[in-house]
């Protein structure tokens, strides 16, 4: 009885904190829109408020471990959160798509979803997370992560110009890649607190892929671009139909973009974090992936800005394999981790479990993955 009372008391406290933080965030947003607060201050207050609100949601999710009523409440919060976010996305579309139209937006969306579908099918046998996690991640990538990236990147672009090499080719790529990893970091932080149930590294890769996809769809819509082609780049376009193809100093350049970049870093970091005990040099994979993505992102932005020395540009093209490096590493990494985790979960071809994850199967996989990641036998 005492436990029940204290549990209700904790719930009430969490509800009060969450309600207060949401109210303050909405108030700051309204004040920013009406000009009563400078936009920067308004954004900082909103950022603080939503951070507290998400921390409360995290605590509540943890507290719902074995309480049906709390799990039910969390389900309701999930439905409401996803619905509000989806409405926000729809409300933003007219503004976002005014330069290239809804058709281009939908073409780009289809191209991103194609790659996501391929990655999801490949990760199917070792996946443990459900659609809600990925839907929330995509919406976060589209709305919040882009907002945060613009918040830290836009002032420099406005002050130094869109052709400034430091702003476009150093500051923006580094900050964008960092903020895109926030959802990945949250999932990994939650995973490390458990030893009885863990996600697969490919789950985390999908979280990164969804974040990158959301980010890319927003960016492409705002910049008025988007394409879908299965033939532009041999083989690569079959997996990443949004791949762009250009030339720099007469050399071809392939451009895969945010989805591939974030998925690759997420996969490598997840592998190092989750299997660091088992494979001591797994951190090398993270270093290589982060280096490859930053080199590709920075060098391609520098070329687009038109301010890069020809020798340096060609050197980066050699190092990045003409833009193939990130996508090649992602394909190779996914294949390796897939084989690795397939053995851990005792993989077998079961189409029903492959495409439609059942709770019991997710539990079985996550328990086996947890044991392997904790250093136990696979």
């Amino acid at each position: 009885m005492a436990t029940t009372v204290s549990g209700k008391g904790a719930d009430i406290r969490l509800a009060i904190i969450a309600g207060t933080s949401v109210t303050i965030s909405l108030g700051a947003f309204a004040a920013g829109i009406t000009g009563n607060l400078p936009p920067g201050v308004s954004t900082i207050v909103v950022l603080a408020g939503v951070s507290i609100g998400l921390r409360v949601a995290w605590s509540y999710a943890a507290a719902s471990a074995s309480s049906p009523s709390r799990a039910g409440t969390m389900l309701m919060i999930s439905n409401a959160g996803l619905a509000i976010s989806a409405v926000a996305l729809l409300a933003a579309l007219p503004r976002l798509t005014q330069s290239a139209g809804v058709r281009t937006f939908l073409i780009d969306l289809l191209a991103q979803l194609w790659t996501i579908a391929v990655l999801t099918v490949v990760a199917g046998p070792v996946r443990t997370l459900g659609w809600r996690a990925f839907a929330g991640t995509a919406l976060t990538g589209f709305l919040a992560i882009t907002g945060l990236a613009r918040f830290v990147g836009r002032p420099l672009i406005e002050n130094l110009g869109a052709s400034n090499l430091f702003a476009v080719a150093v500051w923006v790529p580094v900050t964008e890649e960092l903020v895109k990893l926030i959802p990945v970091a949250i999932v990994l932080a939650l995973a490390l607190r458990r030893t009885d149930a863990r996600p697969s590294a490919l789950d985390v890769m999908l979280v990164g892929a969804w974040t990158g996809a959301g980010f890319a769809v927003y960016e492409n819509a705002a910049l008025g671009r988007g394409s879908f082609s299965l033939w532009t780049n041999p083989a690569l376009s079959l997996v990443v139909p949004s791949t762009g193809k250009g030339t720099a100093f007469g050399w071809p350049v392939m451009q895969t973009g945010h989805l591939v970049h974030t998925a690759l870093i997420a996969l490598a970091v997840a592998f190092a974090v989750l299997y660091g005990r088992r494979i001591r040099r797994a951190w090398i994979a993270s270093a290589v992936a982060i280096g490859a993505v930053l080199l590709e992102h920075c060098s391609q932005n520098a070329m687009a800005a038109g301010d890069l020395n020809e020798v340096i540009a060609k050197a980066t093209l050699v190092l990045t394999l003409g833009g193939w490096l990130s996508s090649t590493l992602l394909v190779a990494g996914v294949a390796y981790v897939m084989a690795f985790e397939w053995r851990i979960v005792g993989g077998a071809f079961r189409p029903a479990d492959w495409f439609r994850l059942q709770p019991a199967e997710a539990l079985r996989r996550s328990a086996l993955l947890a044991r392997a990641q904790s250093g136990g036998t696979a």
Partner: protein, 217 residues
């Protein structure tokens, strides 16, 4: 420059004009709502919230697949948050103990119980009475919807009535059988009704640190 660089895209969300972009504060608000929605889908990672979101066969009307159900047997442990009731054996730093070698029982809010063998195979899936409004409302089989151990089988309880004894003979009242209640003297129909055991050997209750104990309310 046109002849030197053709068709190279730059990956820069900050370069989009303000007129074509969402104000960062609005994006943060909308995205945070999505993030909160996604937290529930993290299943066992978030402490099991996803267990209530899934496609359990015993959950008609649920849509979508789900994360792994949560451990409710006290062996899994929540993230060690102060508000977490999930970890009977959680340590203060939020780390749960290493998985035990024995079978693990996991209960979802819909009452589905899954027993996981040490080799990873799921061996038992059965439905217990619903968590809320189940048939056991009193007595040793009662379930409390807010009890983190609810959904598990009630702890074994046997009721043994001994024959007439002499109150002055202490040897007649001795029994060290666990989970056994004993009555002495002549059976009394009023006393023969089951009563809660004074002590149990069940799994740890919330707010304990791994020791088996029972705190009657």
């Amino acid at each position: 420059m046109i002849e030197i660089v053709l068709g190279i895209l730059h990956w820069c969300a900050s370069c989009a004009p303000d007129a074509n972009s969402i104000p960062p504060a609005a994006g943060l608000l909308g995205g945070a709502a999505g993030a909160a929605g996604g937290l529930a889908g993290l299943g066992g990672l978030g402490g099991g919230a996803g267990a209530g979101t899934g496609l359990s066969p015993a959950t008609p009307g649920a849509s979508g697949d789900a994360g792994p159900p949560s451990s409710a047997d006290g062996t899994g442990g929540g993230p060690g948050d102060s508000a977490s009731p999930g970890g009977g054996a959680s340590s203060g730093d939020g780390q749960s103990p290493a998985p035990s070698d024995g079978p693990k029982t996991i209960t979802t809010p819909d009452g589905m119980v899954t027993t996981l063998d040490p080799n990873g195979s799921t061996t038992v899936v059965q439905n217990l009475p619903p968590a809320d409004g189940g048939p056991f409302t009193t007595g040793p089989g009662a379930t409390d919807p807010n009890d983190p151990q609810q959904g598990q089988q009630p702890i074994g309880f046997t009721h043994q009535i001994l024959g007439p004894t002499s109150p002055s003979d202490p040897t007649t009242s001795l029994s060290d059988m666990p989970n056994t209640a004993h009555l002495q003297g002549t059976p009394d129909p009023a006393q023969a009704a089951p009563s809660p055991p004074a002590s149990t050997t069940g799994p740890a209750t919330p707010h304990t640190t791994g020791t088996s104990s029972h705190h009657p309310d």
